[in-house]
Amino acid sequence: MFGIFKPRTFFNLANTSIFWLKIIFAFALVVGLILSLVFSPTDYLQKDSVRIMYVHVPSSWISLFIFLIIGISSFISLIFKVRVFSVYAKSLAPIGLVFSLISIVTGSLWGYPTWGTFWSWDGRLTSMFVLVLTYILYVSLWSFIKNYNSAEKITNIVGIVGLINIPIIKFSVAWWNTLHQPASITLTAAPTIHSSMLAPLLIMFFSFCILSLIIFLIRYKYEIINFRVNKK
């Protein structure tokens, strides 16, 4: 059932695709930055500070998406005993941690000129903070527990429990009164953001996705070689 996820398939993919992914990433990043910083219009309320959105929103999306994959991989690893899924999760976790930190820091820097404060313990910000703590816990457990099997089991549990926070983050702006604005882009409705702002946002998101994939493949190669070396 999980044959497509064989380590060798991903290892070969990593060897052959990283060079081309780097070229696509560089191109997308340059186009995204030019559109974000030069050509995208200013917001009628937030003026130029809206340009922080092109880093903040893609980072938040990626940090949430990566934790979703970690949770699902942890579940498959724990229930079906397919070990490679915990390797996927372990390789992805530092990437998700960095993107969640970028989301928090850029959000604070955007919050000060628009809300008048760097931080507020409201629903969205607190749930994002919990996500950062969950990432730190997950990465730390892999570092501090020396026995691979124990680390795998415990981190799988953390990954599954941490999944509870994902819908809380997503719907926090609807459930509670928060400083944070509601989502402008959803999967179920047309975006409420103008195309001149949507284009750079999606291009920056695409470039961050490609960068995440490059770093994931590098870390995955490391984890597989590390696993083989330790087995010897």
Binding site: L37, D48, V105, I218, K221
Partner: protein, 64 residues
């Protein structure tokens, strides 16, 4: 013109800090990931060469 661009309508400090933080974090993540991979690649290489040595020694032993 350049100072206008850097100033970003008075929000330059927040915007450039955000972009710089993101760039530094992602560059560090990439750098340390590559460094980690390169360090273990050397170990893998040593293991492989040890293995080749073991095979050649055992082949020599078989011949003699």
């Amino acid at each position: 013109m350049i100072s206008n661009f850097l100033n970003m309508g008075g929000y330059g400090l927040y915007i450039w800090l955000s972009y710089t933080f993101a760039a530094l974090s992602l560059t560090s993540l990439y750098y340390f990931s590559v460094k980690k991979l390169n360090s273990i690649k050397n170990i893998e290489y040593l293991y492989q060469s040890e293995k080749i040595e073991e095979v050649s020694v055992s082949a020599q032993a078989n011949r003699s």
